[in-house]
């Protein structure tokens, strides 16, 4: 009987169990109904401005801040430069004025 059984099983394995077209259509309909859609690129929210950007906006924006910075640097330069260099740069001479001529004794020793 073992040989008969092997033969029977082999023949049973070769018998196709074909799906009906209706079943295939139902399965495909399920597949398409539940298929995740290809995701479109989602626009990312604009990044929140940083502290410096917000501070800059407070003073009127980058152009105004740049002007202020330039003026500040120029003012510092004027303060540090010696009068000779200043004369060279401006093409003028500097007059020396003594407001307290009698006060030299304050700067001399003994």
């Amino acid at each position: 009987m073992q040989d008969d059984l092997d033969d029977l099983l082999a023949r049973a394995a070769q018998r196709p169990v074909l799906p009906s077209e209706a079943l295939m259509n139902r399965v495909l309909a399920d597949a398409l109904a539940r298929q995740p859609q290809a995701s479109a690129p989602v626009p990312r929210p604009a990044p929140r401005p940083g502290v410096l950007a917000r501070l800059s906006a407070l003073f009127g924006g980058p152009p105004v801040l740049a002007g202020l910075g330039t003026a500040a640097v120029f003012g510092l330069a004027l303060g540090y430069l010696s009068p000779t260099t200043l004369n060279y740069l401006t093409g003028t001479s500097t007059e020396t004025a003594e407001f307290f001529p009698q006060a030299d004794f304050l700067t001399t020793e003994g």
Partner: protein, 200 residues
Amino acid sequence: MAFDAHGDTSDEVLMVLYANGDRHAALALTQRVTPRVLAYAARLLGGDRAEAEDVAQETMLRLWRVAPQWRQGETRVTTWAYRVATNLCIDRQRSRGRRRQMALDDAPEVADGAVGAEARLQEAGRMAALEAALADLPDRQRQAVVLRHLEGMTNPEIAAIMEIGVEAVESLTARGKRALAGLLSGRKDELGYEDDRDAG
């Protein structure tokens, strides 16, 4: 529906493509997996075509649901599908109790039209008897025999589907075949195996 744009693509890659919205992948997976699950379910359910179709559709539905979380390399799609179909068949068998023996009229038609009507009837009777004998096996033995001898799977593949060891598969298959032989031996005359008896 016969067009398969992913002829060389593995089932596992198709799952990823399906999850990414590729409609051709949906079609390819439907065409590849559904017939196998249907055949397996029909054999486990003793040829009950309507129930087998329900099991096949439910199995495929679960496959579509799990696709977005599918992790390549963990398991094969067919292994997963057979496992789900097995559990669905067991649930159905338990819910309806032991299924009725398939009537001769329910036997699938023989595809070969060259054989005569008598031989076709005898062949259908043998297949019906085999289905009935398979149905009388314990669940695990039936699964192992069907997967090994009707689905043509290897023991490691069966072990993966049944989530047991290869040795356990071998044991289940051997015991299942012995039980099948015992069940069918009482019906040798009915099945047209009298020649064996005469020869023996």
